[in-house]
């Protein structure tokens, strides 16, 4: 009957399409625990691994993940998969070095496996809150390291290819320590989007102290995914078109355009009395004014003759360029401000422990 119940739970978990990811992880955990309690170990192991595999916002919380790992350890012990049980127990220790299982729920051989994993695993755990948005350089992403001893470790952000992006901490600590990362690399710039990790490893001195040169080495790895949401920036203005620039040296066309209105206006003023009041005797004032206007036109023509430097136009063009440069610089500054103010999304994954023999 119990086996039938567990099989039913497993099948219902497989066929439940309407539940969200968050509900699925919790439901899978509950069903996995129930399967363990009715000794349906194969189905229980499958359910618990599925629950632990859920990522993102629907992933199990810290306590539930520890619970799932504890039951998976017990399930693997019950299935006579001791190596697998030890590996799972190590994950549990990495997740929460201080985890204390309920002595009444789990049999002694399961607790023994946990003790063995605790002895073999480093005494350091790493914990991060869920997805976090920070402004690089202004806010901080916080990771808590826990330890039952006082290990001397180094913690660093590394890129996918293992390159150290920034060292967060080097030294020993007791109980726990919060590592704060401001989202910038060692040179003070936000790293590009991609996969990174916070890697915690014992220092060489710690390795010598604990392993004596022949023990095991280890590293804790907390995967991180960095993403920068697109920032709304303003496009830089195009440079002023050639049509806006004035010639900086006189040419024939420009000289004639200066001469023509002067001569035309001068002549018009001189002949005005004939047009307007031909019956009256006009004074010589029209000759003075008309002559002045015509002379001004000739002077303008001479000042713009071909090859002549035109300081006014040179200054005008310089102002045009300077205004454009100032405008572009201002927009660049505003864009940089917006990029600086933009938040970076940090998505931590499940921490993993890597162990290996030291040389």
């Amino acid at each position: 009957m119990n086996r039938l119940l567990a099989a039913g739970l497993t099948i219902s978990a497989l066929l439940a399409p309407g539940v969200t990811a968050a509900q699925s992880a919790s439901a899978l955990l509950d069903q996995g625990v129930r399967a363990y309690s009715v000794r349906e170990y194969d189905g229980g192991a499958w359910l618990l691994r599925r629950a632990l595999a859920v990522e993102g916002s629907g992933a199990l919380g810290m306590a539930d993940a520890a619970k799932a790992l504890m039951y998976l350890t017990a399930t693997e012990v019950a299935r006579n998969q001791r190596d697998s049980a030890v590996a799972v127990a190590r994950r549990l220790i990495v997740l929460d070095a201080r985890y204390r299982p309920d002595q009444r729920t789990f049999p002694p051989d399961v607790l023994a496996v946990l003790q063995e994993a605790r002895r073999a695993a480093p005494t350091v755990s790493i914990r991060a809150s869920g997805d976090t948005a920070i402004r690089p350089g202004a806010d901080a992403f916080i990771v808590r390291l826990g330890a039952t001893t006082s290990p001397e470790v180094t913690a660093a952000i590394t890129s996918a290819d293992g390159r150290v992006v920034r060292t967060l901490y080097t030294g020993s600590f007791r109980d726990s320590i919060d590592l704060r990362w401001n989202g910038l690399d060692a040179s003070g710039n936000p790293p590009p989007d991609g996969r990174y990790a916070i890697v915690v490893a014992p220092t060489a001195r710690e390795q010598r102290r604990t392993g004596g040169g022949g023990g095991t080495t280890w590293s804790l790895r907390l995967p991180l995914e960095l993403a920068h949401p697109p920032v709304d920036t303003t496009a830089l203005p195009p440079g002023p078109p050639d049509s806006l620039f004035r010639p900086e040296r006189g040419d024939t066309k420009g000289a004639m355009r200066a001469l023509a209105p002067g001569l035309a206006a001068g002549v018009a003023i001189i002949v005005l009395p004939q047009l307007v009041a031909s019956g009256d005797r006009a004074s010589s004032a029209r000759l003075i004014v008309g002559g002045s206007v015509a002379i001004a036109g000739i002077a303008a023509f001479l000042s713009r003759h071909p090859g002549q430097q035109l300081p006014g136009n040179t200054q005008y063009n310089r102002n045009l360029r300077d205004n454009w440069r100032r405008n572009a610089a201002e927009i660049s500054r505003r864009n940089a401000d917006r990029v600086r103010q933009a938040k970076m999304i940090i998505r931590p994954g499940a921490p993993t422990l890597v162990t290996g023999e030291t040389p």
Partner: protein, 222 residues
């Protein structure tokens, strides 16, 4: 009359700040001219000369413009061929008041079309003579040195008009031209040298006005 001049002066002083806030450009100018008036009544002609002082203001909003001008002075008889204006043996000097209020449309960058009334009043002892002419005008501008020196020519003709009491139908035409020069490299003041000639006529009457005007303008001349 002095009260009117004072009121206009106050307006010209107070208006710029308010207009600037509305995106309206303005220019104001002080005028000083030497005017020559040739007055013909039937076969009698008299020539007057004298200084005229005045103010001019232009408001510009995109393509629309408004121009007002006011001037006054005293002109004295000079020479003459006898009789006098009123059929007396001597000719009295004249107090002259003239003004215009025009609305303009900038058809192109260099051509502006105007329309509106132009008035001139002469006071001679106890009598006066008032001309009111409705004119249409075209002003052409040419640039000699960009931002430094420009010329202008304005031609105008009368649509209708009247003079005297009872009113006589009047007509006329005129022209105005000159040179505008910026005072200083980047200053807001311009100087203008202008020559104006206009002739108005009614039954038995003809007035020809010729003037040379020097102006100081604040703002870009339009």
């Amino acid at each position: 009359m002095k009260r009117y001049v004072a009121a206009i002066a106050c307006g010209v002083i107070a208006l710029p700040a308010a207009l600037d806030a509305q995106g309206v450009q303005f220019t104001v100018a002080g005028l000083a001219s030497q005017e020559i008036v040739q007055s013909h009544i039937d076969a009698t002609s008299t020539r007057f000369t004298g200084p005229i002082l005045g103010l001019e203001g232009i408001l510009t909003s995109d393509r629309l413009l408004v121009r007002v001008r006011y001037a006054q002075g005293r002109i004295n008889p000079k020479g003459g061929d006898g009789g006098g204006l009123l059929g007396l043996g001597t000719v009295d000097p004249r107090e002259v008041v003239e003004g215009e209020a025009l609305v303009g449309y900038r058809a192109t960058q260099w051509l502006t079309l105007w329309g509106g009334p132009s008035a001139r009043a002469y006071t001679m002892g106890d009598s006066d003579e008032r001309w009111l002419i409705w004119t249409g005008r075209a002003t052409a501008r040419g640039t000699l040195l960009p931002g430094r020196m420009q010329t202008f020519i304005e031609l105008y003709g009368a649509f209708s008009g009247n003079v005297g009491d009872p009113p006589l139908h009047a007509g006329g035409r005129g022209a105005n031209g000159g040179l505008e020069v910026r005072l200083g490299e980047t200053g807001s003041f311009w100087g203008r040298l202008g020559y104006r000639m206009e002739s108005t006529h009614a039954s038995g009457l003809r007035e020809t006005v010729e003037s040379v005007t020097l102006s100081i303008i604040y703002g870009l001349p339009q």
